[in-house]
């Protein structure tokens, strides 16, 4: 299957192949193909991340929020959002931590699997994400046990940044808000107690 073919198939909702095989521009095209006409037009111009970094971010975001019967992170252009936040919203210190986190991810991939993150297979990538998440959860637990006001550690972790940005980018996108969360701009009424699953 060549690249064009992969993209085309993605566009009609086939299972996701290893995203690391696509360039960033192609990744964006995946999102566009699925969601043409919805949301803000995505641009392939990166503001902060290198193309490589953007592809790593896209792969990780898709691991966190994959496409299922509803769209995934890449479908709704989460990478473009993360790039903008890293470029314009993050402090220098936060940007530095984010970029160092991406580099550390590659280093860990090389150490464990002998290849960089993007070249690793999806099972290997998930193992790496699992490790990062376990470290994050342990840090969150430590934060909870410490008296407040002592400076949170969990927030300093790359995977905290990554998870927060992915969730924010995903759940504030038009597609996720309307299709996944059932958001309506004008609900018209407030119903105080209704069954969640009718």
């Amino acid at each position: 299957m060549n690249r064009r073919e992969a993209i085309r198939q993605l566009g009609v909702g086939a299972a996701l192949p290893v995203i690391g095989d696509l360039t960033f521009a192609e990744l964006l095209e995946v999102g566009r193909g699925v969601r043409s006409g919805l949301g803000r037009p995505e641009t392939a111009v990166l503001l902060a991340l290198t193309e490589r970094q953007a592809m790593t971010v896209a792969s990780l975001a898709e691991i966190i929020i994959p496409r299922t019967d509803t769209p995934g992170a890449t479908d709704v252009g989460v990478t473009t959002f993360i790039d903008r936040i890293v470029a314009e919203w993050y402090t220098d210190e936060e940007r530095g931590r984010f970029e160092a986190g991406l580099a550390a991810l590659d280093a860990r991939a090389r150490q464990l699997f002998g290849v960089e993150f993007l070249q690793a297979g999806s099972a290997e990538q998930e193992i790496l994400a699992s490790e990062l998440d376990q470290e994050l959860q342990a840090a969150i637990q430590r934060d909870r046990e410490r008296p407040s006001g002592q400076g949170s550690r969990a927030r300093d972790l790359f995977f905290y940044q990554m998870k927060r940005l992915t969730l924010t980018g995903y759940f504030t996108s038009e597609v996720a808000m309307t299709e996944v969360l059932g958001y309506r701009i004008v609900p018209g009424a407030y119903q105080p107690c209704i069954p969640l699953d009718p």
Binding site: A189, Q191, P192
Partner: protein
């Protein structure tokens, strides 16, 4: 002493005289404009900020995906231009356009004080959270009963008809509870409590013998159509405006009514510098204005002057109106001007989780939560402190935001956090602050704002009584959560400095004696009979209720009095 101001020839040529001048077009200025024009006065409203055009400036229906930062805000711009304003939750990505630029509007914090301001037509009535509660004689009698500060010159009976009056126009939704110390308003139909709130209400009724009443927040939002305004459609972000005019603001309600009379002249971009005072007659003759755009100084003249520029801005104008005869500020023969600054202390409470109701949810974004009425020092005397507090809060199911702290990723994780999380219920306390002479504002001898007007130095801190109340606000909230059957109960504490509650008041208090107060019981300056201060500066004590409804009632009452006196030529 006021800096001398040169009025340009053009400014003099445009000399205008009106029946009444109102300074400010926010919550209180809007009411003054409506009342005075409807009573036949040709009224000039001078507003420091720009015009607000709902079709252009309201943004409540802009969804997150159309915001460049998806609601996180332009952080760099906020930090640069609105470092103080953005400590308020409503000063966010879009809402920030209704908050002042801190660089143009500096002030000096002798002690930490967050001064949150809106400078545009409508003032803070655009961003307010619309909670509206009457005061009662428990509040109006408190100072006299306890020997704190000075006695209020009015009682609930004086204000009751005016609460009725402003409520009939503004529209307050809520539920009648028959509490003597939190009198019911003339309610529009209440917004409903959700199932966990209803459960908690009932549990508290049982556990505390009716002494802890959890009711729906009383909101200046109409729940059925009224006066050409439409019933609320539950879109959520009211602080960014309301194109259907469902909630009460000057822009949505009072200014259109004033305009309708044909007697309103609204001049945006008019930064009032000082009141012009004629020592020969002892009367105010008008005000000096700096044009916001041209920086030109202009004078306007009127038979009465009403200050409604917000508590601290009105006091700032009076301080800046000092003359040889009144060297410490106009209307300040008592020396009370600038003193007895108050706010409410907020942020002490508790939160807990509720098992059950797993298949229960709600739809629509209800623009209020519940209110738990004051229960301390109502019938019994608390050993540690005077006065009391109330809580706002709500029961809700956590959204996707909780996902960062939840383990996992992938399909199962996505499915899990796309669904509502467990039920939580939180109590968030608002407590009364006692008036103290030391809590004060004064003019800085040097620093000026972007229009060359001296800035305020604010010197204010919580006192012993407030600090003694805070632990009880936490433990009482926790106690109620336990009584309602919550688990994982955690107390919460924010340690906010004064100001952030945005209920700043006092500094030109009402009283019965010209020797100890700035205003009489009709918001009229003792020293200058045709000068009125109708905003929160007039407050003699703070009570613990959100104050704006009381400001509205006081403003309507003061305007009624002023017009009557004017007719009888007694001003």
């Amino acid at each position: 002493m006021s800096r001398s101001l040169t009025i340009s020839a053009a400014g003099r040529a445009r000399r205008q005289t009106h029946d009444a001048i109102v300074v400010g077009s926010g919550m209180t200025g809007g009411w003054a404009a409506k009342e005075l024009t409807e009573k036949g006065l040709d009224t000039l409203v001078l507003e420091a900020g720009p015009e607000v055009v709902p079709e252009r400036d309201f943004s409540e229906h802009v969804p997150p995906w159309q915001m460049p930062y998806r609601g996180l805000g332009d952080r760099a711009a906020l930090e640069r231009e609105q470092a103080i304003q953005s400590t308020c939750y409503a000063c966010d990505e879009l809402g920030r356009s209704f908050f002042v630029n801190d660089l143009e509007n500096p002030y000096v914090q002798e002690k930490p004080f967050l001064w949150i301001r809106g400078r545009q037509v409508g003032g803070k009535s655009i961003m307010w959270a619309r909670h509206s509660y009457r005061l009662s004689d428990l509040d109006f009698e408190a100072n006299a009963r306890e020997g704190v500060g000075i006695d209020w010159p009015i009682r609930y009976a004086d204000l009751e008809p005016w609460y009725d009056y402003v409520e009939a126009f503004a529209g307050i939704s809520g539920m009648a509870e028959g509490l003597a110390h939190l009198p019911d308003s003339r309610f529009f139909p209440p917004m409903p409590l959700n199932c966990v709130e209803l459960h908690t209400r009932e549990r508290l009724m049982q556990a505390f013998g009716g002494g802890r009443v959890l009711t729906i927040g009383r909101q200046a939002i109409i729940t059925r159509d009224h006066n050409g305004r439409r019933a609320c459609h539950y879109c959520g972000p009211c602080e960014r405006g309301c194109i259907t005019r469902s909630y009460f603001s000057s822009v949505n309600a009072t200014l259109p009514a004033a305009r309708e009379t044909g007697r309103l002249t609204l001049r945006p971009g008019s930064v009032v510098h000082s009141v012009i005072h004629d020592p020969a007659t002892g009367r105010a003759t008008g005000v000096r204005v700096i044009d916001r755009e041209t920086q030109e100084a202009i004078e306007f003249f009127g038979r009465i002057v009403i200050l409604g520029a917000s508590a601290l801005e009105s006091t700032r104008i009076l301080l800046n109106s000092a003359t040889a005869e009144a060297p410490d500020g106009l209307a300040n023969s008592s020396g009370a001007l600038g003193h007895y600054l108050m706010d409410h202390h907020m942020g002490n409470g508790a939160v807990g989780r509720f098992d059950g109701w797993e298949n229960e949810f709600y739809s629509g974004r209800r623009p209020t939560g519940f209110y738990l009425a004051r229960f301390r020092n109502v019938d019994e005397r608390h050993p540690d402190y005077l006065r009391g507090f109330a809580y706002q809060g709500s029961a809700y199911r956590a959204g996707w935001n909780r996902g960062v702290a939840e383990p996992g990723f992938g399909a199962e994780y996505k499915e899990r956090i796309s669904r509502p999380g467990p039920w939580e219920l939180s109590f968030y306390g608002f407590g009364e602050m006692l008036p103290r002479y030391e809590n004060q504002v004064s003019l800085d001898p040097e620093a000026v704002d972007a229009w060359g007007i001296p800035v305020l130095r604010i010197d204010c801190e919580w006192g012993d009584n407030e600090r003694a109340m805070m632990p009880d606000m936490r433990s009482s909230a926790a106690e109620m959560l336990v009584a309602a059957g919550a688990r994982d109960v955690r107390v919460t504490q924010e340690d906010n400095p004064p100001g952030l509650t945005i209920h700043e008041m006092g500094t030109a208090r009402m009283g019965r004696d010209p020797a100890t107060s700035v205003l009489n019981g009709n918001n009229q300056c003792w020293d200058v009979p045709n000068l009125f201060v109708v905003d929160g500066a007039c407050m003699t004590s703070s009570a613990n209720q959100n104050p704006s409804l009381t400001y509205m009632a006081l403003t309507a009452r003061a305007c009624d009095y002023a017009v009557e006196r004017l007719r009888r030529n007694e001003l």
